[in-house]
Amino acid sequence: MTKNSGASPQDNQQQDHEPHDQRDPRHALNSLNKSLDKATRMVTQGLVKGFGNERWQSLTIPLLAIFLSLLTISVVILIFGNNPFDVFRGLLAGAGWWPKENYGGGQSQLTDLVGLATTLTPLLFGALGVVVALRAGLFNIGVAGQMILAAFLATVLVGYSDMTAWLARPLVFLIAIAVGALAGALIGFLKYRFNIHEVVSSIMLNNIFMLTVSYFITSSHQDPVSRNMRAASADARLLTEPVQLGEASARLPVGFLLALIMAFLLWFFLTKTKQGFEMTAVGKSPKAAQYAGIKIGRTVIVAMAISGAMGGLAGVTHYMASVPSIAPGVLPGVGFDAIAVAFLGNAHPLGAILASTLIATLVSGATYMSSIVGVRQEIAALITGMILLFTACGGYLRSWLDVKKRSLADANANTDDNATKGGDDA
């Protein structure tokens, strides 16, 4: 990255200091053209050097997408009269990566990091759900609905009882997995049996689940003050008792380690087991998979069940840890951010860990940034959107780099003084 971003300003400077005939405008234009050509060539060369290596492209291309989106967002922030670096520093500070100016009582940078882990957990679970489905060639945008349904049932069945924490918390996880898996399998079943595209059915089910849950909340489980669902008991919630961290104390998210372990388990499942291989095969080419004797229908339903189970886990770790309870009438944004995370992480379980850290940083840093810098916190969602936009162009960038790499190799194979002519390849 440093190579090409450094190259073009240097080049422009050279052009400014170049002595040329002031009286002949054509000459000036000519030399300007030449140096522009040279600049584009150097940028191209830099890009190919930095991003042309196929082995690292699954890492370097998302990095480039992130850089480009931050660049674009900086322009937007500048237009509204703020300093982009203040915004980025505010986001990092809010998420605990950077020290804040001052901390309230019982808080520290460490508690902010714990808060980040709490936000990250449902995002990672959700993204893992999207990743499993993507591997099987399915697009699960039903994570939001699976989340809300699982969290609602877990709260009603366990959260309102007086079970001890050792019984309640495992039960919450089990209910989440079971409910989510059923809700996910339903989408797979509708696709396999009735040929309903999973995108359409999961959108319909999202709304059906959300509205039905919201009906039950407003009719019988509403908290009179917050208007949200009555919160689950502390023993059922997925946060530990306050733990002392230096001078500050925080409640640790119970699901965080589980989410990390799940990412590795899924990576193992998808890449090292027969079932996982069959799933990938169905995703790559259903016809070839069927010819090889893989049962398509079963694979689709199983993939969606696993995906839904992850969605359910995302639901309980969101509504029973990250936020107090379910707000009626709203689908959780996490369910859609999870899609962004999955794509950004290259549809890879381990990539999802890195990507969810980034998106969770944006989400949990937004409020603090907004209070310090005064830029609306929606900018965080905008950054996510821009990153996705540039990630979507990743495939094009790859083929572009491939073409450029070959043409540069050709140019280098020719004589060296030919290089000045090679500039017209932009």
Binding site: F139, F194, T212, Y215, T218, S219, R376, T384, A392
Partner: protein, 326 residues
């Protein structure tokens, strides 16, 4: 309250006022998908269109005489423009950058929600000096159509109608004609079914597809603006209610053809308004509205389950056009 004094006229009018915006969005989807570009971006396009229209209304307050309906009509033009501009992103991503069309659609949706949310509150704070995340619109006038409203039973559909319903009927008829009766329409349909043949006939496939996607954005924008007037009389992020996806379900159910899609939209609209009017008869609590709102989604799923199997998508839908492929 008994089943006898339910307002049946309201079922018809409300049903139509929901079905028609859905129809125009679905026609937009049909254009894009018939040209071979999957369009899951309708939700984002309708939202951005409504944003553009509402921004026009909010920024021209005071320029027009009070009570004038002109800004309302103009807002539909700006909504179409906004939707079309935003659709350019989808077209560029899918056609020029060869992005996965499903992913691109999702990206557009996420970007649209984020961008309109950010811009609405920032513009309100920076230029209008108020902390609000919505642009207010003036209430749309509602017309009683003389003579037609006196017809028994169906006459109810001609009382208290929104002007946008006529705008949509006119625009929809025009785009029906364009798709089925003109050279351009034939090219759009060919681009989605057999792009190689279209190319062989000397037509630029990418350009046809680009045009179709931009049209889909404009039409979705008009639909979004209608929802902004009929459902909430303002623009806020609450406009993203999943209606764009409902339009996709309608067009799949209508087999990618305009007239059957209209029928599907009518079914959704009437189910929705009937549920709104009828459910309170059985359950008087306010919460029941939520249950009523599930009706169109449940009906969609059931209809797709029973009738969706025979559907045939355009043959080249979702495929990149590659000249060298046969």
């Amino acid at each position: 309250m008994s089943i006898l004094n339910v307002n049946y006229a309201a079922i018809l009018v409300d049903g139509l006022s929901f079905a028609l915006p859905l129809l125009i969005i679905a026609i937009g989807g049909i254009y894009s998908e018939r040209s071979g570009i999957v369009n899951l971006a309708l939700e984002g396009l309708l939202g951005f269109g409504a944003f553009a229209g509402a921004l026009f209304v909010a920024s021209t307050v005071g320029l027009f005489a009070t009570g004038s309906d002109l800004p309302m009509y103009l807002s539909f033009a700006f909504a179409a423009l906004g939707g079309a501009l935003f659709a350019v992103i989808h077209a560029v991503l899918c056609i020029k950058f060869m992005a996965n069309q499903v992913i691109s659609g999702v990206v557009i949706n996420i970007l649209s929600v984020a961008l309109t949310g950010f811009l609405t509150s920032t513009i309100n704070a920076t230029f209008f000096g108020e902390a609000s995340e919505r642009f207010m619109l003036q209430t749309s006038p509602r017309w009683d159509i003389p003579f037609l409203m006196e017809i028994p039973i169906i006459g109810a559909a001609f009382t208290r109608v929104y002007p946008f319903m006529f705008i949509i009927l006119i625009v929809a008829t025009f785009f029906w004609y364009l798709l089925y009766k003109t050279k351009f329409g034939l090219r759009v349909r060919a681009a989605g079914d057999n792009p190689q043949a279209l190319d062989a006939a000397g037509v630029n496939v990418s350009r046809v597809r680009f045009g179709a996607v931009v049209i889909s954005g404009a039409l979705a924008g008009i639909g979004g603006m209608s929802f902004a007037y009929s459902i909430s009389t303002n623009f806020s992020p609450a406009i993203y209610m999943g209606y764009g996806f409902l339009a996709i379900a309608a067009l799949i159910f209508g087999n990618w053809r305009i007239v059957p899609t209209f029928a599907a939209c009518l079914v959704f609209g009437l189910t929705r308004s009937a549920a709104f009017q009828l459910l309170p008869v059985f359950d008087a609590s306010a919460a029941v509205i939520d249950l009523a709102m599930t009706a169109p989604f449940v009906v969609t799923l059931l209809l797709l389950a029973f009738f969706g199997r025979s559907n045939k998508a355009p043959r080249a839908l979702g495929e990149l056009y590659d000249k060298s492929k046969r």
